[in-house]
């Protein structure tokens, strides 16, 4: 033990009761575990803590429960309270209830989908900004355009596991730019630059082989 003064617990020893109850955060729990592994005296004292822990639970569990009188008295008092104005749940309450109503699995999927959407959106914004800065300055009327309705287009749905970085690299490598979306089914309208319309089919075939996408089709 590092503590030489019995009247003052060292930091780790002070945490032993919470370690026994499992209420320490991961970092502190690891600190205690490490100390226990290297300090036999601390480990012996931890056994004393566990003993107290068990007997405290035993003691409390033998205290019994209140009689029905407590509940009857409570609800008699509640019934005697003035009626509250019927008000609908507030916005915060509705949010709390909405999320509380979701199962952990649904919540996890929703969070993943939301995270992906945010990443994609961030990638798109970054892409647009990079393109804008790259073409800043004077442009002739004959400069390539990615405006919808002019040029060669595909419909693309990205793979769920694709990151924004993957998508940016894919767009850049294939000279593609997103012009609209997401539409129904998570599809994006993507302009293909630098190729004649006749070569679109072969480009689509090539794009279909990339793991970043799970659907590619030519479109007008």
């Amino acid at each position: 033990m590092n503590a030489t003064d019995e009247d003052r617990p060292d930091d780790i020893e002070a945490l032993l009761p919470w370690h026994a109850a499992g209420t320490l955060n991961r970092r502190d729990a690891q600190r205690v575990e490490d100390a226990l592994a290297h300090d036999p005296e601390l480990a012996r004292r931890f056994e004393l803590v566990r003993e107290e822990f068990g007997e405290t639970i035993h003691l409390n569990e033998t205290l019994g429960a209140p009689s029905a009188r407590a509940m009857e008295k409570l609800f008699a008092q509640i019934d005697a309270e003035p009626k509250r104005a019927a008000a609908g749940p507030g916005f915060t309450t509705r949010i709390v209830e909405f999320f509380a109503g979701l199962s952990p699995r649904t919540l996890a999927w929703s969070a993943s989908a939301a995270a992906l959407a945010i990443l994609l959106q961030a990638g798109l914004i970054a892409g647009v900004m990079l393109k804008e800065s790259g073409t800043a300055g004077y442009q002739t009327a004959s400069a390539p355009s990615t405006a919808p309705g002019v040029g060669t287009f595909t419909l693309i749905r990205f793979a769920p596991q694709a990151t924004s970085d993957d998508i940016n690299k894919f767009l850049e490598a294939n000279k593609l730019s997103i012009v609209a979306g997401p539409m129904g089914g998570g599809l994006y309208r993507v302009a293909v630059t630098g190729i004649p319309k006749g070569e679109l089919a072969s480009v689509v075939k090539k794009l279909q082989g990339d793991k970043v996408v799970n659907f590619v089709a030519a479109t007008e």
Partner: protein, 186 residues
């Protein structure tokens, strides 16, 4: 079927939902009762107090902000009610310090230990601690409250929570020693 979280129940209680109140009461009243009973040491008083605790929940539900767990909030209210009740009765009854200092001469330590197993001696000593020490030991061991939560319920800094728990355990060891059970600590 999913059960509603305490936070959802409290939000419904704030809107006057009596059923939500019944669910919250059924879920927590036994633990709250035991916490209060360990402080006031009188079953009838403890029963009266839990009615008061949950009536406060009914009245104050709209003010619950969810910054702490609902059980932490409940225990905080319960503690306040218990201490107020103890203060009201302090002139009529022995206070805990006095009661704790009275020595039991019925048996010498060896006889006591021979009569009872180690666990029952430990439990007996747990009941002989001061209210302050009983409270912190129960909150940590039985109600499974973290350092931060105990600090919130008792209204003391986290460092004080740790040292108070240490001294409560130390006092427990001393009581055990008096009863013939030397644990080699402190």
């Amino acid at each position: 079927m999913q059960t509603s979280s305490d936070e959802v129940l409290i939000a419904r209680i704030a809107r006057g939902d009596r059923l939500a109140m019944q669910v919250l009461f059924a879920r927590h009243h036994v633990r709250v009762y035991r916490f209060v009973l360990r402080l006031v040491r009188n079953e009838a008083t403890a029963e009266d107090l839990i009615s008061e605790v949950f009536l406060d929940v009914w009245r104050q539900a709209a003010k619950f902000e969810g910054r702490s767990a609902a059980t932490t909030w409940l225990l905080g209210i319960a503690r306040f009610k218990a201490l107020s009740a103890l203060r009201r009765k302090s002139e009529e009854e022995l206070d805990d310090e006095t009661a704790g200092s009275i020595e039991d001469h019925s048996d010498d330590p060896e006889v006591t230990l021979a009569k009872k197993d180690k666990g029952s001696v430990l439990r007996e000593c747990l009941t002989r601690l001061s209210a302050e020490h009983r409270e912190i030991i129960d909150l940590v061991y039985y109600h499974e409250k973290s350092v931060e939560e105990v600090a919130g319920i008792v209204g003391i800094p986290e460092a004080t929570v740790k040292t108070r728990m240490f001294y409560a355990r130390k006092k427990l060891s001393e009581l055990l020693k008096e009863r013939g059970l030397d644990r080699g600590w402190p």
